[in-house]
């Protein structure tokens, strides 16, 4: 290698520093990717999950008619506070397979005395009724949202979804997907205790 000249750069260290930039950027990105991969494993990083925009806010104003034949009153925004304890709002449908899977957890919660309110999302009333007759009815109140508009006001993007609203009527938690036993014990029950 011919080192014919000592390049008399005014500032050789500056050049060296600049040459290090790609390595530093790549290293930083690499650390980030590693953290993401670890997070994928633990569940703390979820590229597919979407947080609710309503966390920390009051639920939208709405009023839904009751389900004929279910022997439960309808659901409106006023019912979501003043209960003296946190309440759950569960969006479900008879055509939704994960809803069937999570239903036992809803029954369990209702038997434990937690107020669980249901919204039948885009479901024909007779189908919802059949669903509840087959799998049980945990809901203290039940609204029918056939066009699905109220659900959009809640920021729903699929069923099932479950929202936890605290005593003062503020949404504190949203779970998109079926509430499994793990979700119940690890996430929901601590929250119910916290906002009790």
């Amino acid at each position: 290698m011919s080192e014919a000249t000592a390049p008399d750069t005014p500032n050789p260290w500056r050049r060296r520093a600049l040459l290090l930039v790609p390595l530093v950027v790549a290293g930083g990105a690499g650390l980030g990717f590693y953290a993401m991969l670890r997070g994928l494993g633990t569940g703390s990083y979820d590229p597919r999950g979407v947080p609710s925009a309503l966390i920390g806010k009051a639920p939208p104003d709405f009023s839904l008619p009751p389900l004929e034949g279910a022997d439960r009153p309808g659901l409106s925004a006023a019912d979501l506070h003043g209960q003296g304890r946190p309440v759950l709002v569960n969006f479900f449908a008879s055509w939704c397979v994960p809803c069937v899977i999570e239903h036992p957890q809803m029954m369990r919660l209702s038997r434990a005395g937690v107020p669980v309110f249901g919204v039948a999302y885009k479901d024909k009333p007779q189908d919802s009724l059949g669903f509840l007759q087959r799998h049980g009815n945990p809901y203290a109140r039940l609204g029918v949202d056939l066009p699905g508009r109220v659900a959009i006001d809640w920021g729903l993007y699929g069923v099932p979804e479950t929202y936890l609203i605290d005593k003062s009527g503020v949404i504190r938690w949203r779970w998109a997907g079926p509430v499994t036993e793990d979700t119940l014990t690890q996430d929901l029950e601590p929250l119910l205790r916290r906002y009790a």
Partner: protein, 170 residues
Amino acid sequence: MMRLLQALFLALLLAGPALAAVGDPAEQLPDPVLEERARAIGRELRCMVCQNQSIEDSDADLARDLRRIVREQVAAGRTDAQVLDYLYDRYGDFVLLRPRFTLATALLWGMPVIALLGGGLLILAMRRRAPAAAPAELTEAERARLSRIEDGSDRPIGGVGGTAANGPKA
């Protein structure tokens, strides 16, 4: 088990987009100008249950519902910003395909300028080096070697400056 359930949930949500993204003529606005505005707004909104598609490009149920809402709002005379705000209030940042300009996205939106300026400064900084300092004077041994090369008795090695027969013209 949890994974399976999540997969089922997603499968349900994603079953939609596989179908034809065609839409329904009955849902289009009668006024073509308003319809075009509604489409332009729709292209700014993400279909939450699809993979990186706008609500205009997807036939998922949710996308259809959101398209209906956009058209209702446009027909009711709302501005583009108001319609986008309506959906932002319900779905948050994720639904906007054009991220809002906040402190968190400053780096993102500033990138074109940062890259251009940064690159430009870099180029200037590198050029500020002494412009290829004239080669140091040759030593005696090097001078002798140079004359041998010029005589052809000592072939250069490597690529540059080979014999005239093979050097390509620039």
